[in-house]
Symmetry: C2
Subunit: 408 residues, 2 copies
């Protein structure tokens, strides 16, 4: 049980998946884009679902993102989501757009749903056209079911080393609502295998407009706060479907359990985001940076992200080196309001820097703390009450190996 | 001879150093902060010189920067500059500030110049106090001379693998004016050996106010356009002294040779900046990114810096991989106005991406081009007439090694 607001607790469902919320089915198969791994997935709701999505901030948005945005703008509902891995369908010009439309219409025809009830997503190599005969094969042969959850969750991966899913439950009007998600990362992993994708399902009853509001709030504190190498892809997308299968009062910001719902959605996003960061290219450790005492939450998140994104901090964590000087460097480099004389830095529970000067601390303890799977850095700025967190991973020889040895 | 404006040419003086301009002397010695390498340097002008400087944008400015800023604000002239390596005197609190003042007064007393004619700079480990007996030993024993140029240029280095200097000459009112500089880098090289320092001398006659204007213009297109790992140090400083030894008309923006002077100063800055980028931590190659057709010069510089700073582009260059997808990713990630359908990307002379899609190109030629010591990437945005350049280096196993293996 996790206390999320004064009045509410949520339960983490340890083996929950994308099909745990009522009325969702999924499937995945090998359609032939990859050598042998699953590369085509389909997620469906038993009825049209409210939908919310956020997309990459890159100037280069891939065709599938354009088609999905068009579907959502037109219908405000989504019933099916088709995803392929291996080929990103990015930087593919007009032909790429035609192919993304075709990928959508194949599912619309097969399941007799309006085209604008279908979303599409792709991830993989940039600059190659989709092989449409294989996409068609996938569309025709995928069999979504409650038990197809892991097949779907595997089909969306590229060079990820593991499936990523999260599931939480809360009570709304005395009824159990489930929110679950699946994701793939991990930053700009393998060269052009760029994308971060997140798909979230819930059986809650909520209009798209309010779902979008809840999602946007959650994203700022989760997916937008992770960094593997500071890169943004052409295909990043997080899409949420709420099919209203559970019969509670419509969730709006006026509902007494609105905050609990939003925070649970945020928990799902945060859980997935941390799994992505931890599975970063060549990563051996998750780094979590908590900033408190900032002038605003935005400032706190900016400082946290600057520190967790610093190549020097990342290599120090890899080297199990309590190198507070690099943390100071990264804080100083941020746009937030910071006063050198006032800030405290902790590595796990040890104060290593305070009042503008280093503190004496146990190097042995620091080595033990930094040898853990998750390394916690806490920064207190003493400027206000803003707080925020960011997650990342260490920078290792394997990062260079993965990214330098491709194609050569 | 380099044509810098329609009417002017400048000459690069191949073996020129910081003491090539008339009326400057320098020296360096081992004062004991490092094991055996030179660690204390002094640069002097025969007469008080006009001065201009720019400092790190970090929120954490080290004490020597504060003292130097105070000297310049008080006198608008500088006659001596004392520098130590090994210890940055950063994050050292009140004691650090007292020590920086002491480092200044030692030189003022020894050479009988006003304290506010003396600037100080430090580079090295953060969080340690200067050992003042050694600084005093350096101050008393350093012997600046015309021939002490290389001793000075060596004394300011930390983990740099080579001295960095540049020297150019131009004609002003028919007389030869020399501008020279020395620098140390290379980004946040060895862990806390953070700093980028640049010192420029010239025998030109120019008021501090105008020199500051010329320097600030030059910095934006040189030192501010290099990146090794995106980090900013607590001690970064570029300081320029102009002692007016050559008897031409005062240089002001109204002087007919103003533009030639400013561009020559910029050449010196650019030359030093490129040497720093090339000597980046573990680097094997210099990367130069030229952006044309941007909406503004600022946009062009922003795109260039985003591309040259991308870990994925840097590892691709290390891996000799013509991976235009990563360049696209970095361009898309910038804040500049960019249209995916319009931009062209060249690696050396080969067009690899155009009209939003990849071009066919010779992989063999690309491998040959990317195996050179300097790899050129050219991006045409087709948005306007803005242009800009940035320099960086590849990301290698040695970068991780240097930064992860310290202290452990």
């Amino acid at each position: 049980m996790i206390q999320i607001t004064d009045a509410h607790k949520v339960v983490k469902v340890e083996d929950g998946t994308i099909t745990s919320p009522k009325g969702f089915v999924a499937g995945g198969l090998h359609c032939g884009l990859r050598r042998s791994k699953k590369d085509y997935g389909l997620l469906m709701s038993v009825q049209p679902a409210s939908v919310a999505a956020v997309y990459t901030q890159s100037h280069f948005q891939a065709p599938p993102l354009k088609v999905t945005q068009e579907s959502i703008a037109s219908s405000q509902k989504i019933q099916a989501l088709a995803v392929n891995s291996a080929i990103a369908n990015a930087c593919t010009g007009k032909e790429g757009l035609v192919n993304a439309y075709k990928m959508r219409s194949l599912i619309a025809e097969r399941y007799v749903v309006p085209e604008d009830y279908v979303a599409v997503a792709s991830t993989g190599v940039i600059g190659q056209q989709l092989e449409m005969d294989k996409i068609e094969h996938g569309s025709m042969n995928v069999q979504p079911s409650k038990e197809g959850d892991h097949d779907f969750q595997k089909a969306i991966l590229t060079t990820d080393t593991c499936e990523k899913s999260a599931c939480y439950q809360l009570e709304v009007d005395g009824k159990t609502v489930t929110i679950a998600g699946a994701a793939k990362g991990s930053g700009m992993i393998h060269p052009n295998m760029a994308t971060m994708l997140g798909f979230i399902t819930t059986d809650a009853k909520i209009e798209s407009e309010h779902l979008q509001y809840a999602l946007s709030q959650s994203i700022d504190k989760s997916f937008n706060q992770i960094t593997v190498d500071g890169e943004t892809s052409t295909n990043d997308m997080v899409l949420t479907m709420a099919n209203g299968t559970i019969d509670h009062q419509d969730l709006t910001p006026q509902h007494s359990q609105w905050e609990a719902f939003q925070k649970t959605l945020q928990l799902v996003c945060e859980d997935l985001a941390k799994q992505i960061a931890k599975d970063g290219e060549g990563a051996t450790k998750l780094i979590e940076v908590n900033v408190t005492g900032a002038l605003s939450d935005e400032d706190a998140r900016a400082v946290a992200k600057k520190v967790v994104g610093s190549n020097l901090v990342k290599t120090a964590v890899y080297g199990v080196d309590a190198n507070w000087g690099r943390i100071v460097g990264a804080i100083g480099h941020s746009d937030a309001q910071v006063n050198a004389e006032n800030c405290d830095i902790y590595i796990e529970s040890q104060l290593v820097f305070s009042n503008g000067t280093p503190c004496s601390f146990s190097e042995d303890q620091a080595i033990a703390d930094m040898s853990k799977e998750t390394v916690m850095i806490h920064i207190e700025l003493h400027e206000g009450t803003g707080s925020g967190t960011a997650w990342g991973c260490d920078l290792t020889y394997d990062y260079v190996k993965i990214n330098a040895s491709y194609r050569t």
